[in-house]
């Protein structure tokens, strides 16, 4: 598996360009089917049923906001979609590949940003990107790493250990990490948590770039207003069940998903 990075020199595009990303995604993408399709999907941990009978279809290239209060099962659902967790019942496909059988193909195409991010405190920002690239089999030039960090405004602290970073700066490293490789599906778990206004705008910008490149995006957040701002469709996850939601109303709303949950109850 030798994949050319978004920031690779051989793409023939300037580092960090959206065109470069699109080119890579299109060449590696399976041809048909939705980005995510789940049928009667459930997940339990012991007796605790976290996801119950979820039916979900997310079309390719679209952005879905998945809102819900804390503990609703948003993170569990995202981890199931990237095959870190296996379904307890039901099944489905991600990027056209079976969730139970074709986990490696799915992991090649799906990127997950968790609240804390998969980054190491005692590595520098650039070393973290370098590690990600090596683990994904990406070819990235030294300039490519710098360009990726410049894109998130961290070029000046590229050599500093992540341990010294603020929450917002850490999140930027995670975004740079995600942007490093071509993706078909980007899963963002609470991407706005701990970010200032500038950081939030950066996330919105990233989502727009992903969409322009044909990447499907799922944003899971308890902050309904922020999550729906960049999305075309909104669903509420409450007590492990998916419910439709008036997207425009949610986008206008400054209510948190906690409030939405309380109102509905």
């Amino acid at each position: 598996m030798a994949v050319r990075s978004v920031y690779g020199r051989a793409t023939g595009t300037s580092p960090g360009s959206v065109a470069g990303l699109r080119e890579e995604v299109i060449t590696s993408a399976p041809t048909i089917g939705p980005a995510v399709e789940l049928q009667d999907f459930s997940k339990r941990f012991g007796w605790n049923r976290v996801l119950r009978g979820i039916d979900l279809r997310v079309e390719r290239g679209t952005t879905l906001a998945l809102v819900g209060p804390n503990g609703a099962g948003k993170t569990t659902l995202l981890k199931c979609l990237v095959t870190l967790l296996h379904p307890s019942g039901g099944g489905g496909t991600v990027c056209g590949y079976d969730l139970r059988e074709e986990t490696d193909q799915i992991r090649e195409r799906v990127g997950l940003v968790t609240v804390r991010g998969y980054i190491y405190d005692d590595l520098s920002a650039e070393e973290n990107l370098r590690f990600t690239a090596r683990m994904c089999g990406l070819e990235v030039s030294a300039e490519g790493y710098r360009a990726a960090l410049a894109r998130v405004g961290l070029e000046r602290v590229a050599d500093q250990r992540v341990r010294t970073f603020s929450t917002g700066m850490r999140k930027r490293v995670v975004l740079a990490q995600l942007r490093l490789r071509p993706l078909e599906l980007a899963l963002l778990d609470e991407p706005y948590a701990g970010l200032d206004l500038q950081g939030m705008s950066l996330v919105d910008e990233f989502v727009r770039e992903f969409r322009a490149a044909g990447t499907t995006v799922i944003i899971a957040s308890h902050q309904a207003g922020e999550a729906t701002r960049s999305a075309e469709q909104t669903l509420v996850l409450r007590e492990g069940r998916l419910e439709p939601m008036d997207h425009d109303a949610a986008a206008r709303s400054h209510l948190s998903a906690q409030d939405i949950g309380a109102e509905r109850a």
Partner: protein
């Protein structure tokens, strides 16, 4: 090829972090030195006795010290979201096992490079004439210890009582390896005119090969949720 490249990425990352923090190495060296000191005081100045039991003392020290390293094998991933931070990457999950295994072997060998000369001084035994044979035994023993240890560390990483569970599970499985390493080391140090240590070295080789094949084969299953 891809498997090895990803394994070395993990080794590079772990050793870089260890070189910066020195948490595992410093703790292991001090602990190992402490164990040797305690044995040395407990057994007194009888150099003949010390030479006869030096193989056992050395490997007890290595085994106890190695546990410290093994406990940190996957715990060091916790700051980055745990072992799922490595599982989220595409590719053969055996790369995680191999990467962690190579890392453990390198760190443990570095500790042994301090431990063996320290034991030579404390127990007043001449190691220099046997350095080649001792290096072979140390390498084979360390590889065997790290193979089984890295595997069991993955099994116990999500347990609440992992610090207790790891040695409880590990040491019974290590009996053949410890038997081989202790006997081979002792024979080399006290004199081995009949080359009896060869039998124990063969046992170590067989142990390493068998456990490497089994551990590498079933590691992806052990790693699953």
């Amino acid at each position: 090829m891809e498997l090895m490249r990803r394994s070395w990425a993990i080794v590079w990352k772990d050793l870089l972090i260890e070189a910066r923090t020195k948490q595992a190495f410093n703790a292991m060296v001090f602990f190992a030195a402490l164990v040797l000191f305690i044995f040395s005081f407990a057994l007194g100045p009888d150099t003949e006795l010390l030479r006869e039991v030096s193989g056992g003392l050395l490997w007890v020290g290595i085994a106890f010290t190695g546990i410290l390293s093994l406990n940190r094998t996957y715990q060091s991933e916790e700051t980055s979201g745990g072992i799922e931070g490595l599982r989220v990457y595409p590719g053969d999950p055996r790369a995680i096992f191999l990467g962690k295994l190579f890392g453990n072997i390198i760190v443990l060998l570095a500790v042994e490079a301090v431990l063996f000369p320290a034991a030579a001084v404390l127990f007043q035994i001449e190691m220099l004439p046997h350095v080649g044979e001792l290096a072979v035994v140390a390498l084979l023993g360390t590889i065997g210890f790290s193979i089984v240890g890295t595997f069991y560390a993955a099994l116990t990483v999500n347990l609440r009582a992992r610090e207790v569970m790891l040695p409880l599970l590990l040491f019974p499985a290590l009996v053949p390896m410890l038997l081989g390493a202790v006997n081979a080391t002792t024979l080399i140090l006290v004199g081995d005119p009949m080359q009896d240590s060869d039998i124990w070295i063969r046992l170590l080789i067989a142990f390493d090969v068998i456990f490497f094949v089994i551990s590498t084969w079933i590691f992806p299953i052990a790693l699953e949720e």
